[in-house]
């Protein structure tokens, strides 16, 4: 195992510990916790056992394991992006609701 693998594994373990803390502190919900934990764990497995990754990529028909990781990462990033777009849009609507209430309550009438 190379040094870089060890460093990255340590970093992912750190990230995992943060996720656990956030979940315990009720800052993130169960499904979000599971999602992120899955990502960190997959990352640790990939780094700890590159041969496992090779095996998986060969069995699904992708030549290089690195390619498979890139494809997977892109899919995950798209999904995260989509979720963030929806969350932002919801927040925008809530903002409008507040602005509306303030406008109505502070009506200016002669």
């Amino acid at each position: 195992m190379e040094w870089i693998n060890i460093i990255l594994i340590l970093f992912l373990l750190f990230a995992l510990s943060r996720s656990i803390l956030r979940y315990k502190g009720k800052e993130i919900r169960l499904n979000e916790f599971i999602f992120w934990t899955a990502i960190w764990v997959l990352g640790i497995i990939a780094l700890a056992s590159p041969s496992t990754v090779s095996y998986i990529s060969q069995s699904i028909g992708i030549g290089r394991p690195a390619d498979m990781i890139v494809y997977l990462s892109i899919i995950i990033l798209f999904y995260i992006n989509f979720r963030m777009y929806v969350a932002l849009d919801n927040m925008d609507q809530k903002l409008t609701k507040v602005v509306r209430e303030v406008a109505i309550k502070r009506e200016k009438k002669k």
Partner: protein
């Protein structure tokens, strides 16, 4: 019937005064509400001094949001009819009786003023293409058949205003209103109105020459949002 005229306004200091004045001359019984969408000019001051009720958005939220604010205010104050009227002087006050008549008579829940039903409007050519494409889009994707789907000149009965949910804050609200009308099975009627395009109102329009592009954007956003529900 208690009628509220909602005027969403963003940086319309030049025209808001004359528009409110012409509405006041026309009919003293209508209640005029100007929703100032965080204008940077004197829109608020002029609207208030000219005698309209003014609701101020502390930050800019878009015309769709301003209209909903107006609707909400009107409903909370017992409105029977709500009219949407533009602040830029393009709409004619004389058209209001024709627009609210079907609602008073109980023949419609929503009335839209159409530029294409007989009366002449001097529409610039660049807009015409987008309007035609917009019409086609609504017809194909939503089965909505109207001569002027993008009309901002509307009258809503109380029932219609209560039932319609507008979530799009910006330019897409016009399309969303139509979809809501058809979804909630509200009776919709079109009446001819005259829209006067002036050099001022054209320069001042949100999109200027890029009608087609924004039309495509609106179509795209509407479809994506529908898929996400």
């Amino acid at each position: 019937m208690r009628t509220y005229i909602i005027i969403p306004a963003h940086n319309e200091a030049k025209t808001i005064g004359p528009v409110i004045n012409s509405l006041k001359r026309h009919n003293y019984e209508h209640i005029i509400v100007c929703v100032n969408d965080a204008s940077k000019d004197n829109t608020e001051k002029i609207a208030f001094q000219t005698g309209a009720i003014v609701l101020n958005h502390v930050i800019n939220r878009g015309q769709g949001a301003a209209i909903v604010t107006g609707n909400e205010y009107a409903l909370r104050h017992g409105a029977d009819i709500i009219v949407h009227f533009d602040a830029d002087g393009q709409m004619q006050v004389e058209d209001i009786p024709a627009v609210i008549k079907p609602i008073i008579e109980g023949k419609a829940d929503v009335v839209l003023g159409s530029r294409f039903l007989g009366k002449k409007s001097n529409i610039p050519r660049s807009k015409l293409l987008t309007l035609k494409l917009g019409r086609l889009f609504l017809r194909v994707f939503f089965g909505i058949k109207l001569t002027d789907p993008q009309s901002g000149f509307r009258a809503l009965s109380r029932k219609a205003a209560e039932k319609i949910e507008i979530k799009q804050d910006r330019a897409e609200h016009a399309t969303e209103i139509l979809i809501e009308i058809f979804k909630k099975r509200l009776r919709c009627k079109e009446v001819p109105v005259t829209i006067k395009y002036t050099e001022y109102s054209q320069k001042h329009t949100q999109h200027g020459k890029f009608h087609l592009l924004s039309g495509i954007q609106i179509a795209f956003k509407t479809i994506i949002k529908r898929l996400m529900r």
